[in-house]
């Protein structure tokens, strides 16, 4: 239990530190590397909560796939000029005030609902013993959520066609 607590704080530090660096660095490449640190921290949090399949998906898809896409675009688009210019827009003060207001609301709601987060003992009896996380996800994804799963494939097809159409010089 103590190890879990220490690991949680280490991963939380990675997540938040990486996130803050991501939004403050001048160079887009530094921001991308900080974002990778943040995403790896999130993957660690998944592992802490026995979501092993999502841990693998997070690393393979986010760190391996999406970040590679970002790095490609950073190298493709010339960002040297942008790194030297002003990094924050003129409305940054208004934005900070608005975000602080939202943060105060979220903090209030979490504080006010503190008692309702004490859940009853987990229904371990409901899940068949010996069934791993990946098997459980597969059973649910290909059973109850089969239609959304198929629709997600259509979404990905649209995204592929859309991104090719966008990046192409002339269609």
């Amino acid at each position: 239990m103590l190890t879990d607590t220490i690991l949680f704080y280490i991963f939380a530090l990675l997540v938040l530190g990486g996130a803050v660096l991501t939004i403050t660095r001048h160079s887009a490449m530094h921001a991308a590397i900080s974002l990778i640190v943040s995403l790896l921290g999130v993957a660690g949090l998944y592992l802490l909560q026995q979501a092993e399949f999502l841990f693998a998906v997070q690393i393979v898809l986010y760190v391996g796939g999406i970040m590679l896409l970002f790095l490609f675009v950073i190298m493709l688009v010339n960002l040297d000029q942008a790194a030297k210019e002003r990094q924050f827009n003129k409305q940054w003060l208004v934005a900070l005030v608005a975000v602080a207001a939202v943060g105060a609301q979220v903090a209030y709601f979490i504080h006010a609902g503190l008692d309702s987060f004490h859940f009853a003992a987990p229904l371990v009896a409901g899940t068949p013993a010996g069934l791993g996380n990946t098997e459980q996800i597969a059973d649910t994804l290909f059973g109850e959520y089969l239609l959304p799963f198929e629709i997600a494939s259509v979404l990905l097809l649209v995204a592929v066609v859309g991104s090719v159409a966008m990046a192409k010089k002339r269609i």
Partner: protein
């Protein structure tokens, strides 16, 4: 030390969401705005997994998979738009893209 509860994960997720929102609202570089959107989506996923773990119900993880699918589609299309934009306007600063501004 206190054991980690769902509330800890909620607080972390809220903090990550707010950091991502600050990034979207204040940065000028479009690439970093897209990265901030990824941060926001990750905050949502932390929430989903925390409740999935607390309730011992795998449905939250299924939703997280769909959120990740959305994030991939959004990043691919967004970066495609960015490349087309850079080819036409030679800039990646969000406040210099103001053709529709009056």
């Amino acid at each position: 030390m206190h054991p980690i509860t769902t509330v800890h994960y909620l607080a972390l997720s809220a903090a990550l969401l707010l950091i991502g929102t600050v990034g979207v609202l204040t940065r000028r570089n479009v690439v970093i705005i897209l990265m901030s959107i990824e941060l926001i989506l990750n905050a949502v996923n932390i929430n989903l997994i925390a409740f999935s773990h607390a309730l011992q119900n795998v449905n939250g993880q299924i939703f997280a998979i769909f959120v990740i699918t959305d994030a991939v589609a959004e990043a691919a299309v967004g970066l495609g738009i960015l490349i087309a934009l850079f080819r036409n306007k030679e800039t990646v600063q969000a406040d210099e893209i103001d053709l529709l501004k009056w």
